[in-house]
Each structure stands twice: as C-alpha cells, then as structure tokens.
C-alpha cells in the first residue's frame, strides 16, 4: 500500500506518497523533478543514479524509499547550479570531463563522497573509488583529473 514519507533532500524536507519499496531514483526524478540522478541499469551496476545518503555515495535505483526516509539525501543539484557550481563541479567543467555526460552526475557524487573522507586522494584512490562507475565515452582520464584538481584546490 502506498504510504507517505518525509524526505530530506538537499536540505529541504518534503513529503512523498508512494509504495514503500519504490526506488528512491523514481521519487527524485519524478516526484521531486530532480534531473541529476539518472536511470542507467536499475541494478546498481553502473553508478549513474548515485546520490549521497548521509554523506555516503549510494545507488538510488535500488534504495527503497522507506530506507531513504529520515536520512540526509544529497543529489548533484544540492552541490551547486549551472550559474554557481561547486568547486568540484567547476573542476569537471574546467576539465571538460565528459562527452555525453550521462555518467557525470554519478561521478561527481562519488567524488564528493571520496573527498569528504580523503581530502588528498592519490590518482589510484580516485580510480579505485570510481571503478564501480561506468563511462562509455572514454572520459575516464578527464574525470580523474577533475577530481584531483578539485582536491588540490580543497574542494571538500
């Protein structure tokens, strides 16, 4: 049966009514009209849907709404905007770190979580962290450079 849940998304509390096992991804995209998290596989394999849950990067395509309620949810929209991007987002823009960009939002989220726990990651740290995120255009090296650049500038 559908139930109503209070969600804290990007610092704002909102109320959503849906089946408790609804993947958080669809609530973010459809009920809250947030574009950042993407449907890529629905199986937690690719990382396009990653969001921060209490600061940790998680796959919203397999996270039930009921499990997300009451926790701090941060999507890429919560980091910055096109006009005022965060330092990390700016680093991705500066490095022109994508082609199609479909994986990009998940990459930024994973990097944000990494930098929060390790402000001076090595290249190997970044690659290891992002190894569960897929990119098909071959933008990997630019993405790694963007994260390292943001780390140097103290983005976390």
């Amino acid at each position: 049966m559908p139930a109503t849940f209070a969600l804290n998304v990007n610092g704002v509390t909102c109320s959503v009514t849906a089946e408790p096992d609804t993947a958080l991804l669809y609530v973010l995209r459809n009920d809250l009209q947030l574009n950042g998290a993407k449907y890529g596989c629905g199986l937690a394999q690719c990382g396009t849907c990653a969001v921060l849950i209490d600061g940790r990067s998680q796959r919203s395509c397999v996270l039930p709404l009921s499990a997300a309620a009451g926790r701090q949810i941060t999507t890429i929209e919560g980091l910055g905007t096109s006009e005022r991007p965060s330092a990390l987002q700016q680093a991705f823009i500066d490095e022109q770190a994508c082609q199609c960009g479909f994986c990009g939002s998940g990459m930024v989220i994973a990097a944000q979580a990494l930098l929060a726990s390790n402000s001076k990651p090595t290249e190997a740290d970044v690659k290891r962290t992002l190894d569960t995120h897929l990119c098909r255009c071959g933008s990997h090296n630019r993405i790694v450079r963007a994260v390292l650049c943001a780390a140097r500038e103290g983005a976390a």
Binding site: A23, Y26, N35, C41, T48, V108, S139
Partner: protein
C-alpha cells in the same frame, strides 16, 4: 595536448588557398547522409552546387536568424551527441558574422525548425553543417554590411564590424539588431561571400568550453529523459524473448487491474503498459511479461557457425572493391597470410533509450535522441500510414549512442503508445535488458590478408578479403521501415534491403583499401545482407575490423622484412600528412626502433605497438601507439599508456578533437580487450552489464594526444578516427611484448593464455619481434 597556438600566423600566409579548399571540400562530401542525398542530386541539376549542406538547404534563413534582441539563432540539422557540435558551429558562426560568441544560440535537429541534414553520423558534421554555417554566415554578414552601407550612405568597404556593430567613417554606426528584417535573409544562398581567412579567426581554432557541459554536471535539463510534460504518463514495453518470436497470448486484463495502470497496448506482437507512476509501469511490465506466451523459433545461425567455416553459408554479394596491378613491381620472394576476426559488439549506451511522444489534434510530436530526426519522421510516417507533415521529431540529447542504438526504436514505441492514448504525453523508457537485447549490433567480421614481399622487404602484393553483415540499417530508406516495433505489429512493415554504404566512404569495406603504396592489390568483400542477428551502424562501421587487420598485418609483414614497424610504414607511404602523424606519435611516445619490448617484472611482459589510419581514407589522419602489459600467469592484458597524433585539418575546437580521439582510444581499448556480444540460438542472452563488461577506471590507459593544427586545410571528421588504429596498436604491442599474435578480438585472458601456451615456431631470422607463431587459425 598541444594545440599549436601559434598557427594563426602560419595560416595567414596560406590564405589564398583557403577558398579553394572549402569548395573542393564541398565537392568531396559523400552521400552517407541518407535523407537529403536524393534532394541534393536534384538540386545540383537545377542550380549551382553550394558548399556542404547548404546545397540541399539553400535558403539563408534556414541557417540563421538575426534577432532584434541582439542574439543570433543558428540552425543545424545535425544534433548534439556530446561531441560538441553545437559549440563548434557557434564558433564558426561568431567568426563569420563578427559577433561575440555569447550571442550565438544554436538550434539542433528539429523537423519543424532546422534544415534536413539527414543523420548525424560518419564524422561529417563539421564538413557538412560547419561548411554550410560558414558560408551562410559570411553571406549574411555581407548582406548586413550592405544594408548598413545604404543606411549610412557610405561604401561597404568603408565599414568595420565589431560584435554586430557596424562602424563607418566619422564614427557613424548602426547594428545588426537594427538592420535585421525578416526578408533580408529569406533568399537563396549564393556562397559568393568570401569566408574569413584563418588569420582572422577569433573563435575557430580555440578550445572553447562546450556549451552542453554545465547542465550535465549540475542537474540541469540536459536529456530527453529530463523532459516532463503536464499530465505525462510512464510507459514500458514487453519485448519478445527472441528476435523472431510471435506473441501467442498475454493477460491484458490482469495487468490492467494493477495499481496505476492507465492502459495496456497490444498490436500484434507489440506490447506496452502505461501507468501513472514510473515504478508502477516497471511492475506492470513484469506482470505482463510473465503472463505472455510466445512462439519462438530458433535462430538459424550462431556466431560460432559463422566463424568456424570459411564460408558463412549465407547468400553473399561478392565484389572486388579495388584492384591494382603493376607489371613493373619486383617479384614476391616471401609470402604471409593471416585471418582476423571481430565479434558482434554493442553500443552499450550508459542510458537505455528513451523517448517522449504526444498525439494531439491529429499531430504527433516525438522528442527523441535519434541521430536523424528527419529519417526517423519518414519511417514513423510510413509505419503508421500517415503523412510526415503531421509528425514533428525534436532532438534532445540522450546517453552517448556511438551509432544506431535503440534511439529510433524507442521513439517509434512511444509513438505507438501515444497514438493509442491521444492527448496524453507518454514517456517511454527502455529498461536495461531492453537495450542489451534489442539494440542493433555492430557486425561480426572476418578479414583474410595475404602479402608478398620482394627481396628488398617491400610489399609488392596485398590481398584483403572480408566477410561482413550490414553496417547501416537505420531509418530513412526510400522504402520499407527500419523500426523494430513496426515489424511486430498486426499489420507489419518490412525492413528495406540493407544496402552496404558505397565507397569511397564504404561500409563493410570502410578502410579496407590500404593508404599504403602497394603496386599490386586486390580487395574483395563478401557482403552478407541476411542478418541472423540484426546489425547496424556502430562507430566506424567496418573500419574498426579492417584497420585492426590491415595494421596488424603491416606489423607481421614488417617482422618478416626485419624492419621496425614505424620505419616500415613510412617506407610504404607517399601521403605526407599520413607520415607526419606517424612520426609525431612516435616522437611523442619516444619510440625507439628495436626497443619495443622490455622484460618487465615477474610474470609481466611489456611492449609497444603502432596503428594508423586515415578514417574512411577521406577524413582525419590518426596514429596511435599503445603500451601494453601482459600477465603471463593470468593472461590479463592491460593497456597502460597510449599516445596519439591526429591531423584533422583545421581543428575548429582542438580540445574537442582531443576529447574525441582520447575517448575513441579508450572505447577501442574496451572493445578490443573485453567486448563480444553473447547469444545462442534463442537470441541475445545479455541482460545487464554483468553479461557485457566494459573497461573500468583501473583498466584505462593514460592517454596523450597531439592535435596537429592545419588552418589552411579543410576540416576533417574526427569522431571515429582513433578506434581502428588503437585496436591495431594494442595487437601490435601485444605481439611486441610476447612474440605471439592475437588475431581474434577480444583479447580475453583465455585467448591470451592460449597463444602464450602454444609452442613457439622456430624463427629463421631470429627476430625477437616476429610474431607468426601465435594466433588461432
């Protein structure tokens, strides 16, 4: 990367040739764009030929509009794929018009607004659309300056333009925004206005940041997946379990009773569910799928059948595509032959295909990430039996497609559902398994090569024989319908005959003709139009397999001749730009003859190899050097580094060029090391990324690119230039590292362990790099 920032000065000196190049370039445009090619032919008979896509879309106001609010709208029939075309076209327009770049607002593929430029494919956008925009804007500038001259009462030559402000003697001025009138650009282009000389470019040649990027990293609306319309409902399809299956029954009533179900649509073997909420549609899809029974005939062939026999056993169109004979050549004293294969491979886009469609007031609107909105519109119209004039197809970005993926098919799926539910906007999203099971595949191929070398170690005879399924079965043909669901309807449409793309661009035989100077050569294709598995355009078409084979075989021939592979290539090349990219890549990599292998440490072997091609033999020149590390124990091949040099003529946006080459090398590394479609006689057996692994961050090589900027040369397509050379570079590096050769893609650990375990053939020349001992025949 090196974007040679001092090229402007060099370009100035070469300026007089510029115009000639652009005109020559226009004549070279080849008809891979399916839509307007017929129109182009007719137009050419009645009118003078115009450059690029201007020829088929001849009105100036089809390309640009000067707006009273101080902006310029530039229209292109091409679409943004994340390749940066909207940015590059804006750079060209800003330069030709003499306005600030920020004033340019590009509008991409929209059947109701933009010129018809067929498909955005084949690395042709700068050549076709860029050329049209350049000439249209140059002519618009001349018209605006003419109007300013009349208004200010001075000669046009006395006027200067800066950011749209036209200034004459004594500081009298007016602006484009004051001068503009609807009628001014509503006229046929003449291409008589001289485009800028490269020395005067302000934006072209500059690595401008791409305009499409900021929304992509900030959650802006960037993709068709992000489109939300009032009252929109969510649809999913239930596809057959195999390509030839027919629906026997499905429990529509039980599905309709599920929460949120708006409709269940069935037409023949096409099944879809529509729900108020997306998660409801996903659940209803499962219920409907489980209730369905199908009649599923087995596929006639598997890939193993195809590759295990010399003749695949299907009707083949055999054609000699190139033949050259010279009596003067020295006789061959040594001969080698080898057979290379490439499996079926996938586009494997990060986002499964998606479309939004709405039928309202007798008009169908489809928002789509198709590469060709006009061809798509034609096929939808034909399949639905309605006029194309009642359909609007609007491009919005999707995940990178790299060719013909599910984009067009999902658009038609959405159209079918929209037709069944007039008034309701439908968002139809394929699930991951839909994309893996139903995207058209890149064709499997076999290439057999034979070469004869004379007593000086030069190749005097070269034979290339290939077998391939179709590489282009996109919508947009003159007859038939190339849309998946159209074949499943109660009143089905038929696909048209899948003709191969003709040379010089070529399809299955793309890049099969060597750029090297061989006195005798014979290139034969066996084209197999009957597809056991549906195949279509995957980035590079046949060039990936042909260049992999050709460039691997060049190394085999070099080893037989006992000559360094770089030197061997240069000895056979008279095209100086080809030699220049090979030399530049070698320099960048610190290539040292006879030092392509080191012993590595422990079980590791290391080596370097080179690959080269001029894409389609018409486009960008690209050389790639790869360094690989081979683990003797596990059989794992890692590409550790890659260097590349690319000559794309005038690079409008050098970082965009570098991004394409870098991405192409990484993608090709993934194809070459890891990728092969899985299937059996029931059909495709891939459902998720677990069934089709691709390269991951820890496996990606470090890449360095040198873009050789040639401002006086016309721009050459670059989007598919690196894949073939990268594959061959990896194969040649493996051979350098191990003394064995891999001739079957992908280079899986099993295959690597297999060739390393083979007993080594004694080498009469004691050349450590000779590599005829390995490989599967």
């Amino acid at each position: 990367m090196n974007d040679n920032r001092d090229w402007r000065a060099a370009g100035a000196a070469e300026d007089p040739s510029r115009r000639v190049f652009l005109k020559a370039g226009a004549a070279l445009v080849v008809g891979i764009a399916l839509g307007p090619s017929a129109v182009e032919g007719e137009a050419a008979e009645e009118h003078a030929r115009l450059p690029g896509s201007l020829n088929a879309n001849r009105m100036l106001d089809a390309w640009l509009r000067i707006n009273a609010n101080g902006t310029v709208t530039v229209f292109t029939g091409k679409i943004e794929l994340g390749q940066g075309i909207a940015t590059a076209l804006a750079q060209i327009a800003a330069d030709e018009l003499d306005v600030d770049y920020s004033r340019i607002e590009p509008v991409t593929g929209d059947t109701s607004r933009t010129p018809d430029e067929g498909v955005t494919a084949g690395s042709l956008s700068i050549e076709q659309s860029g050329t049209a925009v350049r000439f249209a804007c140059a002519e618009a500038r001349a018209l605006l300056v003419g109007a300013a001259a009349a208004r200010l009462g001075v000669a046009p030559a006395e006027l200067r333009v800066a950011d749209g402000t036209v200034t004459g003697p004594g500081g009298r001025k007016t602006t484009y925004w004051e001068l503009t009138a609807d009628s001014m650009l509503h006229r046929e282009a003449t291409a008589a206005a001289e485009p800028k000389s490269p020395a005067d470019y302000r934006y072209v040649g500059d690595s401008r940041h791409r305009r499409d990027i900021p929304p992509k990293f900030t959650g802006g609306q960037a993709y068709v997946q992000d489109l939300r319309l009032p009252g929109m409902v969510y649809a999913r399809v239930v596809r057959p379990p195999s390509p030839r299956a027919e629906l026997v029954s499905a429990d529509l009533e039980r599905t309709k009773a599920l929460p949120g179900v708006v409709a269940v649509v069935r037409d023949g073997s096409f099944l879809a569910v529509v729900c108020e909420r997306e998660e409801q549609a996903i659940r209803a899809r499962e219920v409907l799928r489980e209730s369905a029974t199908w009649n599923s005939p087995e596929l006639p062939l598997t890939l193993a059948d195809t590759f295990d026999r010399a003749n695949p056993g299907l009707p083949a169109h055999v054609q000699v595509v190139s033949e050259k004979q010279s009596q003067a050549a020295a006789p061959a004293v040594k001969r080698i032959e080898a057979r290379y294969t490439r499996p079926y491979q996938l586009h494997a886009s990060m986002g499964p295909s998606c479309a939004v469609a709405r039928m309202a007031d007798g008009k169908l609107t489809v928002w789509t990430h198709s590469q060709g909105v006009f061809p798509l519109r034609n096929d939808i119209a034909r399949a639905l039996g309605i006029s194309p004039q009642t359909i609007v197809c609007v491009h919005m970005q999707g995940a990178g497609c790299y060719g013909h993926n599910g984009a067009d098919d999902v658009a038609f799926d959405a159209a079918l559902v929209a037709r069944a539910l007039p008034g309701k906007p439908i968002k139809l999203q394929w699930m991951r398994d839909d994309e893996f099971m139903w995207e058209p595949l890149g064709s499997a191929m076999i290439v057999k090569l034979t070469a004869g070398l004379d007593d000086r170690g030069r190749i005097v005879d070269w034979q290339h024989e290939l077998w391939s399924y179709p590489h282009t079965t996109r919508p947009g043909g003159k007859e038939g319908v190339n849309l998946l669901a159209a074949w499943h309807l109660a009143q089905p449409s038929k696909p048209p005959f899948p003709a191969d793309v003709p040379l010089p661009a070529g399809g299955s035989d793309r890049n099969a003709i060597p750029l090297y100077d061989f006195p005798n050569q014979r290139i034969v294709k066996h084209y197999l139009p009957e597809m056991p598995l549906r195949t279509s355009a995957l980035r590079t078409l046949g060039a990936y397999a042909n260049v992999f084979a050709l460039e691997s075989f060049m190394d085999e021939a070099a080893a037989l001749a006992g000559v360094d592979p770089v030197e061997f290539r240069l000895r056979h090349l008279s095209d100086r730009r080809a030699g220049a990219v090979i030399e530049a890549a070698a320099k960048k990599a610190g290539w040292a003859p006879r030092a392509r292998r080191d012993e590595g440490i422990g079980s590791m072997l290391r080596g370097r190899g080179i690959g080269f091609a001029k894409y389609k033999n018409l486009m960008a020149y690209c050389a790639v050097i790869a360094e690989v590390q081979v683990d003797r124990e596990s059989g794992i091949v890692q590409v550790t580094r890659a260097w590349s040099a690319v000559d794309a003529g005038l690079s409008v946006n050098p970082d965009g060029v570098a991004n394409q080459i870098e991405g192409g090398i990484v993608q090709s590394t993934s194809w070459t090391l890891k990728e092969a479609a899985r299937f059996d006689r029931s059909g495709i057996t891939m459902r998720s990324w677990a069934d089709y692994p691709i390269l991951r961050f820890t496996e990606v090589p470090a890449v360095e690119i040198e873009v050789i900027q040639r401002p006086a040369e016309r721009s050459l397509g670059v989007g598919e230039a690196a894949q073939g050379p990268a594959a061959a570079a990896i194969a040649n590096a493996f051979a350098a590292a191990t003394g064995r050769r891999l001739r079957d893609i992908p280079f899986t650990p099993e295959r690597v362990r297999g060739v390393l375990a083979l007993k080594r053939t004694p080498d009469p020349q004691e050349n450590p790099y000779r590599s005829n001992g390995g490989g599967k025949e």
